[in-house]
Every structure is written in structure tokens, then in C-alpha cells.
């Protein structure tokens, strides 16, 4: 600040920060800190307009009896702001320790460079989609290498995954499929009853469960139980550099980590699907018999008549496809996770969400496709 400014002008432009005030003392703008004062009052609004840019200012703490972390933080940020305006800040008569603490809080060696600008949303989405497609490609290549005998998959690893995924998923698959079977029979029966066609109820439940719903429910359960676990396992391995330890050796993480999981789930899926469909059909019999007056013999006969090989194959294909999508979503998210605990959580969530969306999209596409082809 130039010393040519008159004292009157200084008085007029002097602003108050609590009871602390800026004023011209011997030609130097000085902030005299007087308690009690609020740290907030030291913000930009309290700087005198005439302070300008460049020159020297003084902060005088002679009236400050004691200080705490709040005072230190307020002075530190004020000093930063003044220095950014090109002002030289002189700290005078601060209580013991305060000046030393402020000296400690000097700019560190972390460069204050702006972080790399985040990608626009569309570009980010395209990048992610590209990664997903690349991952599917890598999995297919690894599968082909395994089928042609160029990569071995450890039997014990597959068995271990089978044990983790199959038997423990079975009860919950049975339960959900049974409940869906009851719903299907109830809703279907109500509609069929209006045209007196309750006799076809068994066919509706059987075809619905075998062809569509057993696979869908199994897929959903696997997404939550198994896809999430795969993502968490692989993301933790990624965070602990375990995946890097494989890469350094030239071991393909896809072949070593993803294939055993994929094979285990593909081996387990038909059994889960069969149990799920049977549970749904059996549970669907309850409303059919009790509410809509279908006889057990009718139900069984109708059910067997409706069940063709085409429905069985389509149901099996869909269920296996969903299981593969669950593995792909879980492993893709796990292997591309960041290196932190938070990243493991994000990978797990993303794996479940992706698996569910992919499953529903695949269900829709296959239903429309197979129906359009006349199956």
C-alpha cells in the first residue's frame, strides 16, 4: 500500500473483523487482532478495499492473550489470501507458539497443479463400454485357448469355486423360484378362470418357469450372491498387487482367475435351473389345486404335455447365459478396480448393478428373438 494515502481515507476504508480492525499504522496496513473475534469475520469482506495489490501488510497480535487452533487456521488462511494478492505479510507480536505454528504450515512439496480434468460423461461411458467389450473378448480368447488345450485350468480351483457358489446358492434359488411359481399360478389362474380355462394353468406355470423365470431368478440370485463375491475377491487381489504378481510371471489373470469361476458357474447353473424350475412348478400346484380346483392328475398331465424339448433348451440356454453374465460382470469390475478399500466397495456394487441390467437386457433380447424365430 502506498504511503501517499491520507489517514482520513484510511479511516474511511478501515473495516472491522469482529473487534479486530485494519488500519494504517506508520504507512503500513495493519490488522490488529483483538479478542473476542470470530474467525469468519476475517474473510474477504473484511479486507479494506484500499489494500490493493502488492506491497506490505502487518498482522499485529499484541492484544491477543491466548490462541487456539481456530485462531491459527484463520490467520493461516488469511495469510494465504493476502500472499495470493502479492502482498508481503509480516506477523508481529504474536503470542508464544502461534508464529512458530504458522511457520510450520508453509506450502508443502505437493505441487498444487490442477487435477487432470474429468472426462465428459459421454466419453467416460464410451471408455467404460470399450473396456467391457475388450474384457468379453479377452474372456472368449481365454476360453478358446482352454478348449484348444493351450491353457490349463486347475481342477481344484474349479471345485473350490463350485463349492462356494453352487450348494450354498441352492436353498435361496429354491425358495425364490417357489414363491414366483405361486405368484404365477395365482395371477395366471385368475385370468384363465374368466374364460373357464383353468385346465391350462399347469401349462402356463410350467412353460413360464422352465423357459423364462427359473433362469431369471437364478441369475438374479447369483448376481447378488456370487457376482458380488467375485468382484470383491478380485478387487481385493487387485488392491493387494496379487494380480500384478500374476502378470509379472506372464500368467494371464483372465485364464487364472476368471476361467475357473466361469466354468464353476456354468457347471452349476443347469442343476440350479432344474431345481428352481421344479420348485416353481411344484409350488404353483398349490394355488392350482386349492384355489382353482385343478386335480393333481390334470396338473401333472398338463404340465408334462406343455413341456417340450424346445422350452427346455431355451430355458437352459438363457440360464447359462445369465450365469455367464454374472461372472463377466463380477470379474470385469473386480479386475478393473482401483487400489483402495473404497474401490473394492464400488466394484462390488457396480458388479451387482451391471449383472442385473445385463441379465434383464439379455432376457428381453432372447425372449423377443426366440419368439420371433418361432420357437
Amino acid at each position: 500500500m502506498t504511503s501517499t494515502e491520507s489517514a482520513a481515507a484510511a479511516d474511511a476504508s478501515a473495516t472491522r473483523a469482529g473487534s479486530s480492525a485494519w488500519g494504517l499504522e506508520q504507512g503500513v496496513w495493519t490488522l490488529r487482532l483483538v479478542p473476542p473475534w470470530a474467525a469468519k469475520a476475517l474473510d474477504d469482506a473484511a479486507l479494506p478495499a484500499a489494500l490493493g495489490v502488492g506491497g506490505r501488510v502487518r498482522i499485529d497480535g499484541s492484544a491477543l492473550g491466548h490462541w487456539d487452533a481456530g485462531v491459527a487456521a484463520a490467520l493461516w488462511s488469511l495469510r494465504e489470501r493476502l500472499q495470493q494478492r502479492g502482498l508481503q505479510v509480516e506477523l508481529a507480536s504474536l503470542p508464544a507458539g502461534l508464529g512458530e505454528v504458522l511457520l510450520l504450515a508453509q506450502p508443502g512439496d505437493v505441487p498444487r497443479e490442477p487435477a487432470a480434468p474429468a472426462r465428459p460423461a459421454l466419453q467416460h461411458a464410451l471408455h467404460e463400454a470399450g473396456r467391457t467389450i475388450a474384457f468379453f473378448g479377452e474372456v472368449l480368447i481365454a476360453l478358446a485357448r482352454w478348449l484348444s488345450g493351450r491353457v490349463t485350468v486347475r481342477g481344484t480351483e474349479v471345485l473350490q469355486q463350485l463349492d462356494q457358489t453352487g450348494p450354498r446358492s441352492a436353498p435361496i434359488v429354491l425358495l425364490t423360484c417357489a414363491l414366483v411359481g405361486v405368484m404365477l399360478a395365482y395371477m395366471g389362474g385368475a385370468q384363465l378362470e374368466r374364460i373357464g380355462a383353468q385346465g391350462f394353468l399347469a401349462g402356463v406355470v410350467t412353460v413360464g418357469m422352465v423357459r423364462e423365470l427359473a433362469g431369471l431368478m437364478t441369475g438374479v440370485i447369483l448376481a447378488g450372491r456370487v457376482g458380488a463375491a467375485f468382484a470383491a475377491q478380485l478387487a481385493t487381489m487387485q488392491a493387494g498387487e496379487e494380480v500384478d504378481a500374476l502378470r509379472v510371471l506372464g500368467v494371464d489373470p483372465i485364464a487364472h482367475l476368471v476361467l475357473p469361476r466361469l466354468l464353476a458357474l456354468l457347471l452349476m447353473a443347469p442343476a440350479l435351473l432344474a431345481f428352481g424350475a421344479l420348485a416353481g412348478i411344484a409350488a404353483g400346484a398349490l394355488p392350482a389345486l386349492w384355489v382353482y380346483g385343478v386335480t393333481p392328475a390334470e396338473y401333472l398331465q398338463q404340465s408334462l404335455r406343455a413341456l417340450t424339448a424346445t422350452h427346455l433348451w431355451i430355458g437352459l440356454f438363457k440360464g447359462m447365459l445369465y450365469a455367464a453374465l454374472v461372472v463377466a460382470a463380477g470379474c470385469r469390475e473386480g479386475l478393473h478396480a482401483g487400489r483402495s478399500a473404497q474401490a473394492v466397495g464400488q466394484a462390488t456394487t457396480a458388479a451387482v448393478v451391471k449383472a442385473l441390467v445385463w441379465i434383464v437386457a439379455a432376457a428381453c433380447a432372447t425372449t423377443v428373438g426366440f419368439t420371433a424365430m418361432g420357437f
Binding site: 505437493v110 487432470a116 500384478d244 504378481a245 509379472v248
Partner: protein
Amino acid sequence: MVANDAASPLLQVQGLAVTAGGQAIQRGLDFDVRRGEVLVIVGPSGCGKSTLLRHLVGLEQPAAGRVLFDGHDLHRGAEAPRAALRRRFGVMFQAGALWSSMSLGENLMLPMRLFTTLDAAERERRARFKLALVGLDGGFELMPAQLSGGMRKRAALARALALDPELLMLDEPGSGLDPLNAARLDELVLHLRQYLGTTVVMVTHEIASVFAVADRALFLDPQERTMTAIGAPQDLLVHGPAAVRAFLGRADAA
């Protein structure tokens, strides 16, 4: 061991630039790792030591420059021969990176099973021997989660030795260990070099380690973002640039 020219350097780093998260961390790195030496890469936290090591082992693609191992480029060309090249060095990661779903024995035997023609009995004997080398002879059946920090590091060192590497790359072996355990690990590295003839590249910020094991030390400067000195630590302590002398001079305090 390779019947290559014994005088030629094992690892050559030429004009290497190292980036992490899109930001340049170190550039213009030029140095050789001589056969049989212990080269320590040293510098304050955050100067890019571990990132440099990830480049040296071929996990990251350099922004510029190249790394030659025994005359072959580690970052360019077909993956299969580069992977074969990488299997000639053993890497010990900072957190150990033992495969957590496998026992220690399996951790050591997996690379042997995948990349050697040894039969199962021979693999097990060698795995047990290498665990014994690092003082973990009873740990064959243990899972990584059952180990203490120091044991995990030693197990990771044993795994790095699984394929009898020509070059050991160690990322902060002493980090997170008490001084006694850290010193024990340093001693182990020296013994391995002495008895197995392994060349060692080790990243550390612990000055005691530098003086204990290094034939030469390479100093990375976080401000200059390049290497500012390379040489025997005792020489650097006397004749090195001021920042290096100040860093190494803390050995007495440490």
C-alpha cells in the same frame, strides 16, 4: 546363469520417463544395473520409486525411453517372449502380494508348476527349501492371512525366488517392519546375493538399508523429477549433491 558377456549390464534403462495417473513423475532416467550388484533406488516418499519399479518389471508402459533386460526390450514386441524375459526376475511387491487363496507352499509352487518341467515332489522340495532359506521352514501349509507382517514379507521374498531369478526386484522390503525385522530382511538379501549370485534392485526410503546393502544407490529427486545421483552410498554421502548428502546424512539420526 546366462552365458552372456559377464561385463555387459544386466538391465539397461535408457531415457526412461515415468508417469502415474497421467502425470509425469520422473524423466530422463539413464542407468545400468550391473551383474551381481545390489542397486538401491532411494528417495523421499512420493518421488516415484515404486512407480519406477513397476516400469522396470514391465507392468507399466513408459511414456518415453526403454528398459533392456540382458539386451532385450521389456516393453516392446510380442507378449510371450517378454513374459519369458520377466520370468527371469523375481519381484517382491510392497505388501507381499502373496496369493491369498493359496497356502505358502502353493504360492511358491504355482510358478514352478506353470513354467518348469519339475515334477510335484521336486516342486515341493524346492518350495520347502526356499521357505527354509527365509526362516519359514514350518510355514508350508500356512495361509498368508495367518502370518505376521515380517513373515509375510519373508514369504514374499521366498516366492520371488521360486523360479531361481537372475534379478531380484524388491519394493520397500522393510516398510511396515520394526527395525530388527527390517535389518534381518536386509541381511537376508545380502546372503542371497552372496550365495545365489542374484543381482538385486531394491527400492527403499530407509537410509539404514541403503548403507547396509547397497553397492550403489540411485537417488530420485521429487522436485527435479529426475535422478540426481548414482554411486556408492559412502561416496554420495561425501561428494553427492547437497540434497542427497542431506538425505543420506540422516542415517546417524535414524
